[in-house]
Each structure stands twice: as C-alpha cells, then as structure tokens.
Amino acid sequence: MRKRYSLALIVVLLIALVMGAGFANQSKATAQDEFVFGMILVGPHDDNGWSEAHYNGGLYVEEHVEGAKMIWIDKVNPADSPELTMDLVVEDLVSQGAKLIIATSDDFKADFTAVAPNYPDIVFIHVSGDGVWTGEASENMGNLFGQMQYGKAIAGCAAALKTETGKIAYLGPLINNETRLFANAVYLGAKYCYEHYRGMDPATLQFTVNWIGFWFNIPGVTLDPTEVANAFFNDGNDVVLSGIDTTEATVVAGQRSAEGERVFSVGYDYIDTCAEAPSVCLGVPYYNWGPAYVTTVNAVKDGTWTQSFDWLEPDWSDINNPDTSIVGFAKGTALTEEEAAILDEYTAALGAGAKGEEGGVVLFQGPLNYQDGSTYLEDGEVATPEKVWYMPQLLEGMIGESSAESE
C-alpha cells in the first residue's frame, strides 16, 4: 500500500510539473528587423538606484533605436540568485537572440570575462570593468563607464556647503579601485568647497568612510546600511553621502529629520533618488546610460563596433542633458538657492579644469598623499586616467579602511 502510494506520489508530481509540456511552442524566431540586446543587473530593476538607472538606459535604447528590444534579468547576485552562474545567464540570453550583452556590475568581471570568448559572434560590454585596459578581455568584449568622479566631487561640495558640525560621512559599498576613486573624489570636492566657499580650514573637516561589504544590503553577509547610516548620524555627522546602489542613507536621513534632527543626505546612481525624502536630500550624482547605450547598440547593429575602453566624461555644456551626458547631478530641494548657485559655479569650474581651461579646478592634481602618507601626486602633477582609475588607498585626511583587512 505504502509503496503504491509513494509511486503514485512521484508520478503525480512529475505529471503536474510537466503538464502542458506537449503544447510547448518552438522558440519564436526574432523578427527580421529586430535587434535584441541583453542586460544583466546585479540588483532589482526598480531599486531607485544603480540597477534602475541601467534598466532605464535600456528603455531609452528601445525608444531611440528602431527595432531594438531589451531582454533583462535582475537580482543576479549570490543572495537573490545563488543558483545562477554567468554561463547559464549568458546562454539563456543568447538563446533568445541577444547580439549584445551588457553586464552592469564590477562583481561580474571575472565570470563575464571568462564567458565572453565562448561566444565570439556576440558583443559583451562590461560596465565599470577594466578588462580592455588590462588585456584580460577577449576581442568581442568592451568596457563602458562614466566619469562619475566629477558627480561625486559635486556631491562632496554640496555636503561641505551644508554641514554645520564639520563632520560628513560616506556610506561605501565594497572596497575596490572604483569605490576608492569615488570616495576620494567626494572628499576632494568637500575639501575644496569647505575651504573656498565656506572659508573654513579643510583640516577641520572630518570625513569618515565605512564600507558595508557589497553594493547593497545582503542580510548576514554585509553590514546593514540602515544601521551604518544611523551610526553615522549618532556620531555627529550631519550629512551622509551614499556610495551604495540603494537608498538607505536618504531614507534614514528622512526619518531622523522627521524626528526633528538637522541631517541631510546625498544619494547616488539614480536621478529620482531624492524622491525618497526630498526635504533632506541635497542632490544626487546620477548615471544617464541611455545615450551611451544607443551609441553601442547602433555600432553593434551596423557591424561597426570595435573593442574599446570608453570612460565617458559628462557633457560639460549641460551635465543634465538627458540626450548627451552620461553623468549628471540633480540638485535636491534641501539646498538653498545660494548653495545651488555655488554648486553650479563649482560644476563649471570642474568642467573648465577637465577641459584644461584657465582657472578651472582639476580634481586630481598634486600635491596629494595617500592615507599612509606616501605620495600620490607630486605638487602640480595632474593624474593620468590610469592614476585616477587605480588608486590603492584612500587619500590623506580621510578616516576609514583603504582595503581589506589582510592588506
């Protein structure tokens, strides 16, 4: 009886699982003029942060390139999708006709680089990677990124204009070249504005970095960004800048402000981040991937794509132009008109510096030292792109870890 029952259980389960299989359709061929591109997102596509900015960039492509169709998968990370591997994801996207695959996290670097050579006819774009520079990337793989260090410097400036305690903090993700660069850029922007616009001694500005361990909260694996943000405010910081993919810094600042505290935040990644708590939001340096993606999609579609390392500057004529600038800064309503005007002035100065114009502010210009006192840039030396990308430490004057504990 029991054996018969068990046999029946198995059979019924299997039938239930594959029922309807007989009606399976063959995979639909893509339309003649359709161009399918795949997008792999590390977080939720509606995270109000990094992943949503990419997702919206994909939608922009669909809108601006005839026949373009995006297929996407989000939450490709060990917490949400431990069963997924890059091989499986790429195989699935290619089976749906993708001719271009965009991976949007530095966390994908090793696996994406390993998979790309298996599909020589597909173009792989790794956003925020450096495989083309290092020579690890196969010929069908390119890199794309925006020069967010400028947006971050503007963010740091906004924080410096607003702080009354002279203590600002940076909620960092994991530690690598990219994240160190951005933390350093925030610090330099804050230091410059604290000195030049506030007339304060930059040595009295306390700038603290704490890394949570990943781009967003993974319970049990990372530090909880909500707790870290609260700890920052408890320690007397009155502005917390976010370097992670999600919006905890802004949310926590909003909650504490509602309780009567004078605290502020600066978001990251996504243009509408301030909507989480407009009254405390000083602004957000954001990515606008659409135009760059359109260029890439058109090149692949036309067969003119060649491997390149594209680290694109903002459109300095208007960094918030949605059709031309990859990096922008959306000012928050918590800024006064005067502060907003100063930010515009600083932004213009950064643009002039980037273009090498007289009187401009060059963000990475010596003398600058690393956290351990060793020289990063000699007096007057301007950092090369490589020196900007690969910074092994935080800068002198910053509080926080430069690398993993073992180093």
Partner: protein
Amino acid sequence: MTAFRKILIQISSSTVLGILPLLVGIQVALVAILLILNNENVEPRAVYDLIYERTLSLPENRANVVDFWLPILLCCCGLLLTFTAGLWNIGIEGQITMGAVGATSIALFVELPRNEQIFTELFMAGAAGGAWALFTGVMRTRGGVNEIFGGVAMNFLASSFSSYLLVAPWSPPNATGSATVRFPENAILPSMDDYRLSPITMYITLTAFIFVLLTLSGSRWGLQLRAMGKNEKSAQMLGVPTERNIWLAMLICGIMAGLAGGHLVLFRRANLPANVSGGIGFLSLLVVLLASIRVRWVPFVSFAFALLYSAGLPLRTRLQLDASLIGIFLGILVFCVLIFDGVRQRLKERVEQRKLLAASGGEKSPPPPTVEIQIGQEASSGPGSN
C-alpha cells in the same frame, strides 16, 4: 456495522484513498500558483510551455537540469542515513558551505598535477563537510545538544566564517567582493565534451546513491539505523551502538554534503561566492521528507525539484517573473503536499481503528503493535520518534 462503514473500509484499502488527498494537495498548490501567476499577468500555459522548452526539450538543457540535480541528490543520499537514524541534520547547509571552503582552500593556494589537485580538493571538501557534521553529532551524544539546535548554530558559524574569508583573507587583491577570484583551470573539475556536466560528480553521486541504497535495504548497519529511528533508547538496550552510529551517520552525511559543496565551487562557479550553499541543503531536507525517506523515490523527487529550480532562469528572463517566485512555488507545492499527506495519514489511522473495532465486535482494543523491523524493509516514518 453500518453499510457505509463497510464501504469506507473497503475504499480505504484501495490506493484511491491514499492518492486522493495527494491529488487534492497538488490541486490546491496549483490553484495557489495560478492565482499568483494571474496576479503577475502571466499565462499559466506559457509557464508550463517554457518549463518544458527550457529544461527538457534539448540535450544541453537537460544537462543543465542534471547539473542542478546532482548536488541535491548527493545531499539527499546523506540525509537518508541521518533521517533513518532519527536525526534531523538541519546543519547540512553549513556542511555544504564548509565543503566548499575546504575545496577552495586547495584550489586557491595549492598547485599540484591535475589529478592530484582534483583529488586533494575533493578530499578536503569531504573532510571539511564531514568534520562539521561529526562535531554536531558529538555535541548531540556528549554535550546533550539536540542536533537541530547544534545544526542551526553550525550553519550560522559556517556562513559567518565563509563571509569573513571573503571579506579579508580570501578577498580579491586590493579589494573586497562577493566572491574569491576565479580558480585556475587546473583546479576546476573536468567537464564532458558536449555538455556542461562533471563526470566526476556523476560517479560520486552514483556511488553515494548505491551505497545508501544497499546500506538501508540490506545491511546490518542499515537495520541498526532504522531501529534507532524507531526508538533510540530501545535500540540501545538491545545492544545497538547508538553513539557510534550517530557519529557515523552524521560523518557520512557531512562528507556527501561537503562533496556537494565542492562541486558547487569546483565546477559550477569556479570560485567561492557568498551564500555558496544557496539553500540546496534545505531543499534536500524537503525532498527526503516528501519521498517519505524512501531511497528509491528520492532521485525522482529531487529531479523534479531540480527541474523547477533550473526553470527559474528562463521564467525570469522571458516572463519577467520575480526571482523569489520560483522559491515560493516550490514552497507552496511542498507545503500543500505535506499538509494533505498528514490528512491522508490521519484518515488511514481512523479507518484502521474502525477496522479493529469492527473485528472486535465493538469492544475497545489495544493499540496496534509497533512495527517490526526486518532487513530488506525501508524506513517508513520520519525522524524524531525517539
């Protein structure tokens, strides 16, 4: 005896009563899943079509399902031993994690000729998983710590240890991340030429399955484990070395779980990621429970789970279903089947009581004798009866 009672007893002896609650359970689960799909504006038929198309229709898709299946089946093999002995080895997630850590410790830091490299990695995977499980067993017999609580603690410890390794000593150079660097080619398990399948893992899993099948169906040790599963104290009084058997069952289960963890890092991932076990251990616990701890049915139930698990990716990319929904579907299915299996058991007991009443002419009769255990008979009840 009324006519109705007679009919009821007759029906009860047929398979119909056995299957009916199960069918109802699956139907309830399907209705719940349909409601969710409807809420997501997804055609149920599209889901079924896609599951078939992307898991069973092509050889490479079937190979992917098998790659999902092997580590689950390997864990199930180990759990069959512990469940039969009446042990809830909840700590299997930690054993998988430690197996992965053990394999990684060789893959990252030791360089040997290919065969020796692979052997050493797998040896370390099994040893680490086995040691982790054995410690839980020793805590149970010597420290009086129930294996459920011990297992939960060991899971937490393994997860925290693995996270620490990724943040500090094993983090990529000058950075932190969610995974170690990719292992060198020499350290990765070889794959079949045409499909992404590891022949080594296939052999290990097959060996483990045959071992467990023979152990539980025809060996003296299997008989002892079943006796312990029925009543540990009684088994001990009858001369069964319960402590040794607990240690041995936990050790072997841990070795198998560790090897599953080794497969995950040495073949599927080629690095050690955060959350490496990814719930495979808990999934295996459900599989063994659903199969009523019957060795022969475990491969089928685990394959069905692997099939659904591997269908998650195409459901996400083609129908834009959320990543968590696949887990919810599996959970609903398991929950409903278990609930209605409980109903079935209750019905069966009631009918048997009525049978006894009828046979004794309406007088109250003593409860039925306990099940006699004979070699060749598989375990038929869940753990924890001791």
